[in-house]
C-alpha cells in the first residue's frame, strides 16, 4: 500500500537525511583516521612530501588507469554493500548504508581519486579542521548525486535518460587533475 503523498514525501526526506548523516559520519571517521596517521610523516620536509606524493600519484594512476592495471591491485573491499542493511528499517538502513559508503573502504573503489586523496592527506599533515573539511566534501560528493536521483524518483519521474547517460568522457582526467592540484597545494603550502 502506498502512503499518502504528504507522508511519503516526509519519509523520503528522512531517508535522504539519514543517508547524508551516515555518509558524513563515515567520511569524517576516515578523514580523522588519515589525519591521525599523517602524524607519522611529521619528520619529512616539504620537498620530500611533494616528491613522495608525485611518486605515489604516478603509481596510483598507472595501477588504476595505466599499463599496470590488471597486474597490480590497490587495496579495496571487492564486494557490494549487502541489501540486508535495509532489513530492519529504511531510515536506519539508509543511515548505515550511507555510513559504509562514506568511509570509502567498504565497497569497490573504481576510481583513482580516493587513493590520491588519501595519499595527499597522509603527506599534507593538514590541520584537524582541514582534514574534517576534506571529509565533509567527500560526504557531500558521495551523497549529492544520489540524493538528486532519489528526489527525481520520489517525485515520480523515475531515472530518465537525463540521469542514465554518463559523463565518462572527461571525468577520470578531470578528477585526477583536481585532486592532484588541490592535494599538492595542501602539501606544499
Amino acid at each position: 500500500m502506498l502512503l499518502p503523498p504528504k507522508r511519503r514525501s516526509l519519509r523520503d526526506v528522512r531517508i535522504v537525511g539519514a543517508y547524508f548523516a551516515g555518509s558524513l559520519g563515515g567520511a569524517l571517521l576516515t578523514a580523522l583516521s588519515a589525519w591521525l596517521a599523517s602524524g607519522f610523516t611529521e619528520p619529512l620536509g616539504a620537498t620530500s612530501r611533494v616528491v613522495l606524493f608525485a611518486l605515489a600519484a604516478a603509481l596510483i594512476v598507472l595501477v588504476k588507469r595505466g599499463p599496470l592495471a590488471g597486474r597490480l591491485a590497490l587495496p579495496e573491499n571487492r564486494r557490494q554493500i549487502p541489501a540486508e542493511v535495509f532489513g530492519a528499517s529504511l531510515i536506519r538502513g539508509a543511515l548505515r548504508f550511507g555510513f559504509e559508503m562514506g568511509t570509502g573502504v567498504r565497497t569497490y573503489v573504481p576510481t583513482a581519486a580516493p587513493y590520491l586523496l588519501l595519499a595527499g592527506l597522509l603527506l599534507a599533515r593538514p590541520t584537524l579542521g582541514a582534514a574534517l573539511l576534506v571529509g565533509l566534501g567527500f560526504a557531500l560528493g558521495r551523497a549529492v548525486p544520489m540524493v538528486v536521483q532519489m528526489a527525481s524518483i520520489a517525485s515520480g519521474e523515475g531515472p530518465s535518460e537525463f540521469f542514465l547517460k554518463r559523463t565518462r568522457e572527461y571525468e577520470p582526467a578531470l578528477v585526477i587533475v583536481l585532486v592532484l592540484a588541490g592535494a599538492g597545494m595542501l602539501i606544499w603550502r
Binding site: 567520511a27 569497490y108 573539511l133 557531500l140 558521495r142 551523497a143 530518465s160 578528477v175 583536481l178 588541490g182
Partner: protein, 56 residues
C-alpha cells in the same frame, strides 16, 4: 563487459549532473589562487566523493 568496466560505468556521474564538477573545480581553483587550505580541502574531498558517487 568486464566487472571493472561495468563498475566504472555504473559509478560515473550522470550526464544530467555533469555541472556538479563545477563545484570542486571552483573550490580547488579558489584554494590554489589564494593558497587557502579551506576551499582546497573541501574541493578535493568533493571531487573524490563525486567520483565515487554511484558506487554500491
Amino acid at each position: 563487459m568486464p566487472l571493472e568496466a561495468r563498475l566504472e560505468r555504473a559509478t560515473s556521474v550522470p550526464r544530467g549532473l555533469g555541472w556538479i564538477w563545477l563545484l570542486p573545480a571552483a573550490l580547488v581553483g579558489w584554494g590554489l589562487a589564494t593558497l587557502n587550505a579551506v576551499p582546497a580541502a573541501l574541493g578535493v574531498g568533493l571531487a573524490a566523493g563525486v567520483s565515487l558517487s554511484g558506487s554500491v
